[in-house]
Amino acid sequence: MAEKEMTGSKDGEKHTGYTGAKFGMWFFLMTELIFFGGLFLLYSVYRSTYAADFHIAALDENIVIGSVNTVILITSSFTMALSISAVRKGDNRLSAWLQAGTIAMGCVFLVNKYFEWGDKIGRGIYPNSTLMMQKKKGEMLFYSLYYVMTGIHALHVIIGIGVIGAMLLLTRSGAINSGSFVKLENTGLYWHFVDMVWIYLFPLFYLVT
């Protein structure tokens, strides 16, 4: 099996193959998990130290926007998954539309995020602001965590949108097709991972009781 996939091609990337490419992507996602893990570690320590402060601070979060964004991201994950099945069934047109939908939802998510952040910053809720420095210590740490974690998550969404955009072009050109779709599949894995991170961020920042 291994030998079949690697026989002497001069073009570098073809040395490996479907399984190798997927292994590589999964390994990368595992590093991402540990990367976010460092932040979850900080969150859990500060939440256990400042439980009451976190509760007060979280009252300021807007559950409605948070929930809407969760639904949007889950739905975008759904369309992403569908787009892969579509390509594999040979329907590139449908797949391209589904990918475009995913991108659109990613953008809406970011726009919501923008208004959310903008509103908070407008009211002086950001690290090191005069308002926050007067409040309890845990409250500021909560918002520091909020900005860093949702910020890094949003950065991943932005990167994801870019990559899906590239895949969209490849799908339309036919470079991604029912015989060769590992790039799209790996992009999907990435997008689902970003979705999964949000699945945890949502209760940790919006549903603190």
């Binding site: 099996m1 479907y18 399984t19 997927k22 292994f23 999964w26 390994f27 595992m30 998990l33 540990i34 893990g37 979850f40 570690l41 859990s44 320590v45 256990s48 130290t49 559950i63 929930s67 969760t70 639904v71 889950i74 739905t75 994950s77 759904f78 992403m80 998954a81 569908l82 099945s85 594999r88 069934k89 999907g188 894995l189 689902h192 991972f193 979705d195 999964m196 699945i199 945890y200 949502f202 209760p203 940790l204 549903l207 009781t209």
Partner: protein
């Protein structure tokens, strides 16, 4: 061996999973309004983990992957748990 390669998940399965995820989101928001004292965090995290598991198993096709990839995921989760757990051996007992 290469089930994930040959297996195409149907549109319907994805739709079911999507519906489940939305239901669970609704559930977690509802539950968060009720005060379960210390258990609230736990309940939130359990629901989130169920959602994550659904995404992992179906959207990310882990269900159809070989034992190796499943092992890698478990290993990483274990590593993360060890990192956080050992840190708490300091934080909780300081």
């Amino acid at each position: 061996m290469e089930d994930a390669r040959s297996h195409i998940t149907g549109y319907k399965t994805y739709a079911y999973i999507w519906a489940c995820l939305l239901l669970l989101t609704g559930l977690t928001v509802t539950v968060a309004k009720i005060n379960f004292t210390g258990f609230s965090v736990l309940i939130c995290l359990v629901i989130a983990s169920i959602k994550a598991l659904l995404v992992l198993m179906f959207f990310m096709h882990v269900r159809y992957e070989g034992a190796f990839l499943k092992g890698v995921i478990l290993l990483t989760i274990f590593t993360l748990t060890a990192m956080i757990g050992l840190t708490f051996s300091d934080v909780w007992y300081r």
